[in-house]
């Protein structure tokens, strides 16, 4: 009886078995990493905006407070995106001829709103409330990153469920005194752990209910 398989077949068989095994492990690993990578979470995402608004210039350079434009951040779930009127408060005086500001002037003139492209987006079934986070000392920077260093707004954090839950379990490491909530790049000389512990107490934050599903989903 002649051999059905050539001597190479054994090598091939071993290669297949190990290959499949390794491929499965690698595929799982790659998927695991990919789901946490910017590819899936869109960290670093920048969108074309009608006006190339620079937080770097306005916040980092001019030192505008976040609340000047995002006015409802302390009172509403929605932080608020400035009305054309807010832009025009300054830009009716400054850079009145700048080409990049043409859409703003046009909006002001015609009454047609500026259509911004959302960068930080949560699914509709996740309910996030800016006001309560701000009130409890969660800084803007925790989710939005160093916007004072962003010439164009980009997504700074993955904003996945684990990202949220991570902080809801242990907010202490991110909490700041209320005066520093809107600050960028703030740091403290005190012990971070001690400060966090103190703020948790002072703000009456109980983590127990923070990981309840109904906290964010309803």
């Amino acid at each position: 009886m002649p051999q059905i398989f050539s001597p190479k077949a054994d090598g091939l068989a071993r290669l297949t078995i190990w290959g499949v095994a390794i491929a499965v492990v690698v595929a799982l690993g790659v998927t695991f990493l990919l789901m946490r990578s910017p590819y899936a979470t869109a960290v670093g995402l920048v969108r074309d905006q009608p006006v190339p608004f620079s937080h770097k210039h306005h916040v980092g350079g001019l030192g505008l407070d976040c609340r000047y434009c995002h006015a409802s951040v302390e009172t509403s779930a929605f932080a608020g995106v400035p009305e054309t009127e807010v832009c025009m408060t300054c830009h009716s005086q400054l850079w009145t001829d700048a080409d990049v500001l043409e859409p703003v002037r046009e909006s002001w003139a015609t009454g047609a709103p500026i259509r911004w492209q959302r960068v930080n987006s949560l699914p509709d079934y996740a309910y996030f409330d800016h006001s309560v986070h701000v009130a409890k000392g969660v800084p803007c920077e925790a989710c939005h990153g160093r916007v004072d260093q962003m010439p164009l707004t980009r997504k700074a954090e993955p904003l996945t469920m684990s990202f949220c839950v991570d902080c809801h379990r242990d907010p202490a490491k991110r909490l700041r005194p209320k005066s520093a909530v809107f600050a960028m790049g703030w740091s403290t000389k005190k012990s971070r752990a001690e400060l966090g512990h103190y703020l948790m107490k002072a703000n009456g934050i109980q983590t127990e209910t923070l990981t309840d599903c109904s906290t964010c989903h309803r």
């Binding site: 009886m1 054994d10 695991f32 789901m35 899936a40 469920m161 684990s162 839950v165």
Partner: protein, 454 residues
């Protein structure tokens, strides 16, 4: 290659049971696969089952596009035929491994004739059974959330849920059954490899045989592994249907919340499984002329097993009703009365007839040894067991605690399409399989027969 001298060894007429020559055995069984005599009957069956498979596929496609609303399920009876079929198929899927492993452990040699296709039946039935819980989901594409894997949500599945237990039980059962079946078939693949004369058959079976050489050492390790797996598979089978029973027993619904469910489900599974094996055995035996290997004695023994099942089930039904009365819990009693006299009284009485009353005919040897009555009884048992599962779901769900929440259930054409279609798919898989894999375990038959030859 073969010579006249070779075949003269221990030659005997095939079919003149019980004296069967080794060589004749290998040839008889292998030829079914290698020569593939395509009978008209096979073609008709294959085409019919292919058509039903298309129905199955279309019913699934439509389900995914339109949603489970196409079924008759409603706010009260949230489960319907999908889960009836699931329990029924998993029940059938239990028998193969049960026959194979349990009878193997108890050294019931006669199992060798039937274990191979019974295991295949298990595989296919479990495969189809496993489909139904997924199909029945409102959002089947999220099925993967039952698997514990690291998600970006950071959420594990709920290990308290009987459905997660189900998932583990069925997935494990499928893998173990496949392993068990495949390991059992490896030496036979070697036989086919060596008997094959066509290159593609040699390669095909050669790959499957893994280079099996039948060395004494191979055999020794092989048999050790086989008995270990059999010993593990037996409790696994019991656990699988117990877990299915827990889907119901772990609830608070009247009529489900009963500790008898797990054992009663296991017996029911074995019962319907044996009935299905009888039907398949009868078909295979006549289709491939394997009267020598699947004998009347086999049918007789399986008939006795079914009779045993009928008695245990009868006892279970009686206990269910008795406990309903004995517990003095009015809802419990109410459901017992509802079963027998309510909207679905015909289901209840039909299942009693099919599962308990009619199988009593098996007390008579004539009913066990003659194929026709036995097959008729087996088919009735399968129908009865399907009705039992249907009843388990609709009795309780249409008659819950809340009077205002009581509503009827009426399956729609899509429910039936999926039910009938799954039967077709099962048949198709089986019909294809019998032409690819030896349907009787040759190496076990050889071992069984060698004593008689000498």
């Amino acid at each position: 290659m073969t010579t006249a001298a070779d075949s003269s060894l221990h030659a005997a007429e095939p079919g003149s049971a019980p004296v069967v020559a080794d060589r004749g055995l290998s040839r008889d069984v292998s030829d079914v696969v290698l020569e593939r005599p395509t009978s008209r009957a096979w073609l008709i069956w294959a085409l019919a089952s292919l058509a039903l498979t298309m129905v199955f596929a279309y019913a699934i496609l439509h389900l995914f596009i339109a949603g489970v609303g196409i079924w008759g399920v409603n706010t009260s009876v949230v489960w319907g035929l999908a889960l009836t079929n699931y329990v029924w198929w998993i029940g059938i899927g239990n028998a193969g491994t049960l026959i194979s492993s349990m009878l193997y452990l108890t050294r019931q040699d006669w199992r060798s004739s039937i274990n191979r296709f019974a295991e295949a039946m298990t595989l296919f039935a479990a495969l189809i059974a496993g489909l139904f819980p997924i199909l029945h989901l409102g959002r089947p594409w999220l099925f993967a959330w039952l698997v514990p894997y690291p998600t970006t949500m950071g959420l594990p599945p709920n290990f308290n849920s009987p459905l997660v237990w189900d998932f583990f039980a069925i997935a494990v059962y499928l893998i173990v059954s496949l392993t068990f079946w495949y390991i059992g078939a490896v030496p036979d693949f070697a036989t086919l490899r060596d008997r094959a004369r066509l290159r593609r058959q040699q390669v095909f079976y050669g790959i499957l045989a893994l280079g099996w050489r039948g060395s004494a050492g191979h055999w020794r390790r092989y048999e050790r592994a086989y008995i270990l797996i059999a010993a593990l598979a037996t409790p696994l089978v019991v656990s699988v249907h117990s877990v299915v029973g827990l889907d119901f027993a772990a609830s608070v619904a009247p009529g489900w919340n009963e500790p008898i469910y797990p054992p009663y489900f296991v017996v029911g599974a074995m019962y319907s499984g044996f009935a299905m094996v009888v039907v398949l055995a009868a078909i295979i035996r006549s289709a491939f002329n394997l009267h020598a290997y699947i004998t009347e004695r086999h049918f007789d023994l399986m008939g006795k097993m079914m009779l045993f099942g009928a008695l245990v089930l009868g006892y279970s039904y009686a206990m269910e009703s008795f406990i309903g009365w004995y517990s003095a819990e009015d809802m419990h009693l109410s459901i017992v009365v509802y079963k027998a006299t309510g909207d679905y009284w015909w289901v209840f009485w039909s299942l009693i007839a099919c599962n308990v009353v009619i199988p009593q005919a098996l007390w008579f040897p004539a009913a066990r040894r003659r194929i026709l009555p036995l097959v008729v009884i087996a088919i009735l048992i399968n129908i009865g067991m399907w009705l039992e599962r249907y009843g388990i779901i609709v009795f309780t769900l249409s008659h819950g605690h809340m009077p205002s929440g009581r509503a009827d259930y009426m399956p729609t054409v899509w429910d039936w399409a999926l039910t009938i279609g799954s039967l077709g798919f099962f048949l198709l898989l089986f019909l294809v399989l019998v032409r690819l894999v030896p349907i009787v375990s040759m190496h076990e038959m050889r071992k069984l027969l060698r004593g008689r030859v000498q």
